[in-house]
Amino acid sequence: MGKAQPELQSWGRYRRVVQLGVEQHWRDAILPSASPRAILPYGQGRSYGDVAQNTDGVLVCTRRLDRFIAFDSEAGVLRVEAGARLREILALVAPRGWYLPVVPGTQLVSVGGAIANDVHGKNHHRAGTFGRHVLRFELLRSDGTRMVCSPNENSQWFEATVGGLGLSGLVTWAELALTRIPGTNVDVQTLPCTSLAEFASLCDASDASHEYTVAWFDCFSYRDGRFRGLFTRANHAPGSPPPASPLGAVPFTPPIGLVQRTAMRAFNLAYFKAGMRRANATERMPLERFLYPLDRIDRWNRLYGPRGFLQLQCVIPAAQAPLGVGALLETIAASGQGSFLAVLKRFGAQRSPGILSFPVEGTTLALDFTCAGDATFRLFDILHKIVRQHGGRVYPAKDACMSAADFDAGYPDWRRMLPFVDPGFGSDLWRRVTSELAA
């Protein structure tokens, strides 16, 4: 059954999987029966690794479940089908003074995907994860049963579904709490950030006063604990700029990756210099441009060429963060791999609602690697080991290769998930990370 459908690939495009896509057209429809093959929800295909891939199985595609159901513009509560993208939601609510309290680095993800991966954004230190603002949702199981889940009602199912990697059933619709914004601008301040210690003190100084904080740095520049980096902090600001115009699409996959070392170094240097020119000044810009810079280039993932890319995103708990992140940067610099801008963000203390939610208080590091086959996977093994040694964990939404042991160490509670996993559901990631330990 099925074939390699390129449109169902994961964002990293690092391998092709034989799987069948079946569309879910209406929220009252039952799930396709594929037994004994596993099914798995698939939204916008923005997960990097294999969390939304299902070899020899069926992907239940949710892009047609994109209808709004109700919007209370007084209370700021939106009910929407789970296949809707954040972009269409924001286009509806932002002009009326509302915004999603948590948005990831792209608005081209579905609500269902945002719930299943319990995504976070540049305001994690204030707002926590996406799941904290989900009021309730409907969960559809492969046996046809439906239940409405919220922190109070069927709360165990709520905890198993938020961050549940799509394994507990299909979320058909969700009700989301919105937050007031003064306009669709942000006031952004960029500061130089040249070491992990400086990053920590900038977070200390900014997290209370700024809604969004994040640091970007050039991982090629790392030497003796120092790097070229920029710390960005921002607050919402009034005004209603016109929607950002797209810069265009990457029309096809170039035969060789364009994200090459020399080009990246040049880009990183230029990016850093441009940032330094604005250093310390406050700049007002459209929220979209600040939050989703890469959304302006449609299908930018193709730039990595036919071999695709992998992303490492991990979090190291606060106490271990300076050491752990330092060790990771050291190893990456020594490897000569690594890529574009790397991102650092300090997660706050807000509890994540899901059993498998990724964020814990500490520092998260994210960076892309062109997939160069075994060499890249070997490097990831080493990096995952460092993460483990420092009590950290890897983000399943980005992951393509953590081992069952890595997963067990990072998510020691994961077995609590087992009673809630739909017997008809499965994913490549889940089979991998539970293979040795579930038995």
Partner: protein
Amino acid sequence: MSSVTPGPAVAIFGATSAIAQCVARIYAAEGARFFLAGRNPEHLRAVAEDLRVRGASDVQVETADFRFVETCAAVCTQATRALGVIDVALVAHGTLPDQSLCERDDDALREAIAVNFTSYACLLIQLANVMEAQARGSLVAIGSAAGDRGKRRNYIYGAAKGGVAILLEGLMGRLARAGVRVTLVKPGFVDTPMTAAFAKGPLWISSDRAGRIIVRAIRKGKTTVYVPGFWRWIMAVLRVVPQRLFARLDL
């Protein structure tokens, strides 16, 4: 969305089709009033809720099974009653019949023609009468590029859609005098639930884009619009291929 300039009054038959939904969303953002007819009441309700949130000022729905001629007549009357003057009437329902089944089974054939042609004839003529009397508005129907030429693989569907084209051509002549615009929409490959089973290639477009193209054509008062436009040229070539040769093409 303001009460000063109320949006257009839009009647859609087959309102739960993917293309119709995408067209409706564009009008909803302008505060349109809707009359929606379709087969499944739950699906109609989902579409109506969506359009209300997107800005529709009023949405009325009616369950209708277009296999029956009586239904078509009744639902047309209901549309007029619901909206008063109709600014845009879009007939968009349809099925992609299983051709090999239709070749063996009379009932399947009868149903394929009833849904894809007879109901169109009934609805469009009724609507033409209404719009002729109100002396304004746009009458729009979804035909198909498949209706331009009989092809081995889908000549039954093609015949129904070709019939719709001829019917609409006649109505163009008739309604031009009354100041009513008539638009025939001929989609090529549009990615919708109806075409879910097909492998998609570079010639395919999304239903969203189809919706935008159709609304633009309605606004410009185009008589025929291929969706997307390049099908005009593909079909222009295919139409002049001699029949002996055409029959040998694997289409």
